[in-house]
């Protein structure tokens, strides 16, 4: 049976800390809460400035590279929706780049594990990857039919996986930025995606076309074979998913005031 942790505020992103001993949630009140994984007790509440790196990387709309050197934020000038801009700042907060990033809003954004690349998907279905040293566009993916709602780099930085409305996980080789693989099996659109810390597993969470409150599935994949290993039920559209370093837990958040923990051991 899955365990449920209650949160005071809606949880938008989850990450494990301390090798899996704690779980942190980025919440709708722009604060993070850290719970003890074993007991579910609240350990502390944190402001954005003091987030642990693994959560700061997910604390959309302002995401931070794992070393904290850079942050990136999606901007929609004048609420016109016909121009997305990604603002990249350095540690001091000074602007580094303003990157044009398609139109219709940014659907997903994140840094590579070493902070050298920044990737962002747009609701116009395009996906862009930039070199964070000089702002150069490394790859502009224009061939996707639908928008990507979720994305993660493998912990070794070798792969970029992204998925969205067509239920397929697209995997790019970051050495060449060529599309390397496509994984199919999620029964709904995909709204959450995360690698395990050893890169051997991938978790994806669904988003029903009916409504965000409709039940969906969470899939745990063997990344090497590209086959789903396990399936879990989720009560609603999965906003964020995380796998514990110790391999014992999978956590999922749905935008509401709960985090669900599935034991994997």
């Amino acid at each position: 049976m899955p365990r449920t942790i209650e949160s005071e505020a809606g949880v938008r992103a989850v990450a494990f800390l301390d090798g899996g001993a704690a779980i942190a949630g980025w919440c709708s009140d722009r604060k993070a809460r850290v719970w003890d994984t074993a007991t579910g007790h609240l350990r502390e509440t944190l402001e954005h400035a003091s987030l642990p790196p693994s959560l700061a990387a997910l604390a959309s709309p302002l995401v931070t590279s794992s070393g904290g050197e850079l942050s990136a934020e999606a901007v929609i000038p004048n609420k016109q929706w016909n121009e997305n801009v990604v603002r990249v700042r350095d540690r001091s907060g000074a602007g580094k780049f303003q990157l044009p990033a398609g139109l219709g809003g940014i659907s997903v954004i994140g840094f590579s594990p070493n902070g050298k690349a920044l990737a962002a998907g747009s609701y116009d279905t395009s996906l862009r990857v930039w070199n964070t040293a000089n702002g150069e566009l490394l790859r502009h993916v224009e061939e996707l039919p639908v928008s990507m709602f979720a994305m993660d780099f493998s912990p070794d930085g070798r792969w970029l996986a992204a998925a969205g409305a067509d239920r397929i996980v697209y995997v790019w080789d970051t050495a060449t930025w060529r599309l390397a693989r496509k994984l199919a099996g999620q029964p709904e659109m995909i709204s959450a995606l995360a690698f395990s810390s050893d890169g051997r597993r991938l978790a994806t969470g669904g988003f029903s076309e009916l409504t965000v409150t409709h039940p969906v599935k969470i899939l745990l994949w063997d990344f090497a074979s590209g086959k789903p290993e396990r399936t879990f039920d989720a009560p609603a559209c999965v906003r964020s998913i995380a796998l514990a370093r110790d391999g014992k837990w999978l956590a999922a958040a749905f935008g509401g005031k709960t985090v669900v923990l599935h034991g994997l051991a």
């Binding site: 609420k79 016109q80 929706w81 016909n82 139109l103 219709g104 809003g105 659907s107 609701y123 116009d124 279905t125 996707l144 039919p145 639908v146 928008s147 709602f149 969205g164 409305a165 067509d166 659109m189 076309e209 009916l210 409504t211 965000v212 409150t213």
Partner: protein, 211 residues
């Protein structure tokens, strides 16, 4: 008056003072100023923008008949043209439209109720579709638009329906309910045609701003 209007006023005043804007016949500068502003104000305002949403799909077919024989839902015709702010046609305009089916579902696997049209010289379009259903997470009936034309800013917007129960019979008062519809102008009056095959019709003209 907003900042942009104030700047425009300063600039115009400057033009008159420097002799860059002069009247063909003798005229006081205040009268000249007023006439110029009046003429400028007659330019139509660009159509307001609205969100793109998560379900845009690239590569929709170039078809104006979206409804298939036997499709459930109330038949709807959408007519309109794409113009600049001076009301001139924009040959080369393209519109992408997508909407939910009668049950409020978007087809994300295929291209049902999705089209991409190249409008040609007349810069006009007609869509034969159905009244969209109510998508549960955004419960006002709507059709999504993405419009582009050479030399003009791309516009992302939506058309809504004044008859939608969502507006409770009073879109003027209720259009802003639940923060779904950003602008009253996007809520279109619905005409009902009962002769022959009954169908509803809306007009949705689109005015693009210069790039």
């Amino acid at each position: 008056m907003n900042d942009k209007e104030l700047r425009r006023r300063d600039l115009l005043g400057d033009c008159i003072a420097k002799g860059l804007l002069v009247a063909a016949a003798p005229m006081a500068s205040t009268r000249l100023f007023a006439l110029w502003q009046q003429a400028e104000a007659q330019a139509a305002k660009p159509t307001p923008a609205d969100v793109l949403g998560p379900f845009y799909k690239k590569g929709a077919p170039d078809v104006s008949v979206l409804r298939k024989p036997g499709d459930p839902g109330f038949p709807l015709r959408v007519v309109g043209k794409v113009m600049n702010t001076r009301g001139e046609k924009l040959p080369g305009a393209r519109i992408d439209v997508w909407q939910a089916d009668h049950a409020g579902l978007y087809d994300v696997r295929g291209y049902r109720y999705r089209a991409q049209l190249a409008l040609g010289g007349a810069s006009e379009y007609t869509l034969e579709t159905i009244l969209p259903g109510h998508y549960a997470d955004r419960p006002a009936q709507h059709i999504h638009y993405l419009i582009s034309a050479p030399g003009h800013k791309t516009l992302i917007t939506q058309a809504y329906f004044a008859t939608d129960p969502f507006f409770e019979g009073n879109p003027g008062r209720n259009y802003a309910k639940n923060n779904i519809v950003g602008n009253r102008e996007l809520v279109r009056p619905v005409k009902l045609f009962e002769q022959g095959a009954p169908h509803a019709e809306i007009t949705f003209d689109i005015i693009l701003e210069k790039a």
